[in-house]
């Protein structure tokens, strides 16, 4: 079966061990969660998976073939997309062109890229933003554009780094519906990094918990929610999960 995996990945930065022997597997159509305290190594793991950071040890494999050593754009061309913790939109370009760039980067003609970009914006529900200059968008819209950009060319995998940060519970709820559709309708394998625990618990089939670069727990949402280790290292009061609101709405 096809999959994207990190095997035994370690990363150190001048003495600081950001990841130690991490294994992770993402499969198409499935939403996996990655949570953990600040500085646990979540973003670093995404960087390793997408070619932005060379692992000190270990390999990245796509369907069993090693990806290690590929440049970010090469990784993207193999169908592994990501978003960033900050928006990192092309601020001077219109929203539509933001999406088109990925199309072009993947080798589409501009004509095809425009067509897909327009369809994609509509699909996400932000078709009206097409001509706005990306740099003037408010935070939440930025996030959605970033997701749209990553989805261009229908990647097999998409890695979302804190897509709900700064969203209200209600906005997060829309986002969660969107992510579900990405997995179900587009068949993407999704890796979701979030500090909104309610969102992660509600969406993911499988959750991995990192702490200080190592996996301390993994399993289905229920198991994670009940894990004493996770609660101790990471969870806080209910105020952080916005769970009551979410549950009330679903």
């Amino acid at each position: 079966m096809s999959h994207l995996s990190a095997e035994n990945v370690s990363v150190s930065f001048a003495g600081l061990k950001a990841l130690s022997s991490v294994d992770l597997r993402i499969t198409p159509g499935r939403i996996s969660g990655l949570i953990g305290p600040n500085g646990a190594g979540k973003t670093t793991l995404v960087n390793v998976l997408t070619g932005f950071q060379a692992p000190t040890e270990g390999t990245i494999k796509l369907d069993g073939a090693a990806l290690t050593g590929l440049k970010p754009h090469q990784v993207r061309r193999r169908g592994i997309a990501r978003t960033f913790q900050g928006g990192r939109l092309f601020r001077d370009l219109p929203v539509l062109d933001n999406l088109e760039v990925t199309g072009v980067g993947l080798g589409m003609s501009r004509r095809a890229a425009v067509a897909e970009a327009e369809a994609m914006l509509d699909w996400i529900g932000i078709g009206a933003l097409g001509t706005r200059i990306a740099g003037t968008l408010p935070y939440t819209d930025e996030r959605r554009v970033a997701i749209g950009r990553a989805l261009m060319g229908r990647p097999a995998y998409i890695l979302l780094d804190e897509p709900a940060a700064g969203m209200s519970a209600l906005e997060a709820r829309e986002l969660s519906a969107l992510i579900r559709h990405i997995a179900a309708d587009l068949g993407c394998g999704v890796l979701l990094i979030e500090h909104n625990v309610g969102l992660v618990l509600g969406l993911c089939e499988h959750i991995v918990v990192l702490d200080s670069g190592a996996i301390i727990e993994e399993g289905p949402p229920a198991a994670i929610r009940d894990s004493e280790k996770v609660r101790h290292a990471y969870m806080g009061t209910a105020a952080n999960t916005d769970l009551p609101v979410l549950e009330a709405m679903e």
Partner: protein, 301 residues
């Protein structure tokens, strides 16, 4: 051998001083200040009385050194601060290319202003002639001036580093450099800080002007330009924002130049600069962040 070392050090010192002046401004404003060379020229011409005759009419140039040096330093600092207030202040939010062209245009204005007052003719002056005496150290004979240049550069470098590292002013300056409006939100009086940096940079330009004037005896409107260019290169290969790097690279460029001059066969010697610039490209390829990458030039994803 030792002689060559001193030759390299003294040429390197000039570049290093120039690089410091540029790195300081780049540090606070992300501005590559192409007017720096013209500030140097201005300081040099501050020694003379305006006249378009071939013969120079000496003005400040005949003051005793203890008055002359502060006077020229003040001229440099003053002009530099004036440039900040009148021009660069309006470009705080502008992109680097715009600022650079503005600085170039400003340099142009200063240059033609000098040209109007002094004509394009290079002027000659005997500046601090006592510094042309040769002295002997460790068996190498070199003009006293070279020695003074080397020592001054070292002292300035150490002083400046301490100043920026250890004082509040230095910290605020570096913070303002990185994010101007955030620094202001933290109560940093950023305009003053930047003016301070310009004053320092102008004083450094003046120091170069003095050394250059004393060494060559020639005052030429173009003279700042070539130093400025080398200094700019030194700033970048040293590692932008790293003052130590700028100085190191300045010395290395000086050394490279002197060593090429000594080593190359006569027919290849005119191509000396091509080799030096080739080396610059190589250094950049292997260390794009510069020899001493300043903190913060590394960006994480």
């Amino acid at each position: 051998m030792l002689q060559i070392l001193f030759d390299a050090l003294s040429l390197g010192s000039l570049y290093a001083l120039g690089a410091l002046g540029i790195a300081l401004i780049f540090g606070v404003m992300r501005l590559v200040n192409f007017a720096h060379g013209d500030v140097i020229a201005f300081c040099v011409f501050a020694l003379l009385w305006p006249s378009t005759d071939a013969m120079a009419i000496v003005f400040a140039g005949q003051l005793p050194w203890y008055l002359l040096v502060p006077f020229v330093l003040l001229c440099g600092a003053g002009l530099s601060v004036l440039c900040e207030i009148v021009v660069f202040r309006r470009f705080r939010q502008a992109n680097p290319a715009t600022m650079m062209i503005a600085s170039f245009a400003l340099g142009f204005v200063i240059r033609y202003f000098l040209l109007m007052l002094f004509s394009s003719r290079p002027k000659s002056i005997s500046l601090l002639p006592e510094l042309s005496q040769p002295v002997e150290i460790l068996g190498a004979r070199l003009p006293l001036l070279q020695l003074i240049t080397i020592v001054t550069t070292m002292v300035i470098l150490i002083g400046l580093t301490l100043f920026l590292r250890q004082t509040r002013f230095g910290l605020e300056m570096r913070a303002a450099a990185e994010n101007f409006s955030m620094a202001r939100m933290l109560g940093v009086r950023a305009n003053r800080v930047i003016m301070g940096a310009f004053a320092l940079s102008g004083a450094l330009a003046a120091a170069i002007a003095l050394i250059f004037g004393a060494q060559t005896g020639t005052l030429d409107i173009q003279m700042g330009a070539s130093i400025m260019l080398m200094a700019f290169i030194a700033t970048v290969i040293g590692g932008l924002g790293s003052l130590g790097g700028a100085v190191l690279a300045g010395f290395l460029l000086g050394a490279a130049s002197v060593i090429m001059q000594v080593m190359l066969p006569i027919d290849a010697r005119p191509f000396r600069d091509a080799f030096v610039y080739g080396a610059v490209i190589l250094v950049l390829l292997f260390r794009p962040q510069g020899l001493i990458a300043a903190r913060g030039t590394k960006e994480r994803v």
